[in-house]
Symmetry: C2
DNA sequence: AGCGATGGAGAACGAGCGTTCTCCATTCGG
DNA sequence: CCGAATGGAGAACGCTCGTTCTCCATCGCT
């Protein structure tokens, strides 16, 4: 096989990593299999990513950018800021229904490596923090009280983890209806009903 | 070391397994370390549990019984059926605050082994199903609409997974307040607002 | 007392895997 | 053209770990 541009080789490596790591788990995929799937030699792989851990982190980083990008693109199609919050759960539902869906890649990675690799654990926390921040921006833009962010985030996380374990898209619908109810309760007058615990 | 009653040996093995598996992850703990921590010989361990996988399943089963027992005992202290639902989240908050809390043992096990071991995956699903069924019984006893069960379950799952990743007890409080709001909305009149999607 | 079974301590085996090394073909600058 | 560097293919290394095996002490039973 002829040599290959470095950027393209990186892309190939990350494509193979994403496909295999997500589908079968990180520990279940060896560097040798990654070599075969990427078409790169082990030498090349190791000069791009000196350790498997760094390849895992790079996989999570790239997937994070794409995942949040897809979510934001879907949500932005709603003009009404109030409708953007349920749209998050609509997108989750679509995602859960995709063939090959195997739960949240970051929670899976955390379960496998969070106790072993601080780099991976940090990456997972960063991703979840970014997602939470995005929800907070939607809540704010809709003129809703900021205390809604936490519950909405928990509903989304619960839906992701449940869909991952049971393998259906139903949790997204349940979460969306619950989110609607919370938004309605908070948007009507309910802020006082809700006081955040000090 | 003198021989030991079989039931006691089983207990010792499961004690060691639970402590080490939960604290450090299943794959990170080898049978050799389990031997040291349990005080049993490798031979004995293997005649009690012919494979590591079976030991993992037994660990999850015993923990499931204890975990749901502790939860139910805490919740049962509330006389008012309506108060029993928030009490679930109170108990979660206590649990999250315990020293050594490392997230939900079943979700952790699923992340590590769900893709590899169908026995473990089944055990995790059984545990989650049992927990969901328990919530359903609380919802029913409180005279609330059954559609509340799903959202409450998702809030609890989201709280567990978030507390596991970020390591604080705050998600439990957020989930409890959200649960209160959902119960209030459903209990007042809001059932129609909510209609489950067909 | 003698014997067969149980079990303890730990060595040994075999597989998997992350990482490195060897060997060789190709390429590119002078 | 030539020599140094790049990179491909894959063997090799070293370690971990699940599982099994060896050797020997102990104990119950007749």
């Amino acid at each position: 096989m002829p040599p290959m541009d470095t950027a393209l080789a990186r892309e190939r490596a990350l494509d193979a990593a994403e496909e295999l790591f997500y589908a079968r788990g990180i520990q279940a995929v060896g560097m040798d299999e990654l070599r075969g799937a990427s078409g790169l030699s082990l030498k090349r792989l190791y000069q791009l990513f000196p350790t498997k851990e760094q390849l895992v982190v790079a996989y999570l980083v790239r997937r994070d950018e794409r995942w949040r990008g897809r979510l934001a693109a879907h949500v932005a199609r709603q003009r009404d800021p109030r409708e953007r919050i349920p749209a998050v759960f609509d997108w989750l539902q679509e995602w859960f229904g995709e063939t090959g869906f195997r739960g949240c890649a970051w929670l899976n990675a955390y379960g496998e490596l969070g106790a072993t690799s601080t780099l991976v654990a940090e990456q997972v926390r960063a991703h979840k923090e970014a997602f939470r921040g995005y929800l907070a921006s939607l809540v704010d833009a809709a003129g809703l009280p900021a205390v809604l962010t936490g519950p909405l985030f928990l509903l989304a996380e619960g839906a992701m983890v449940t869909a991952g374990v049971t393998g259906g898209a139903r949790p997204a619908a349940e979460a969306r209806e619950a989110a609607r109810a919370l938004v309605a309760a908070a948007g009507a007058d309910g802020i006082s009903r809700w006081s955040p615990t000090p």
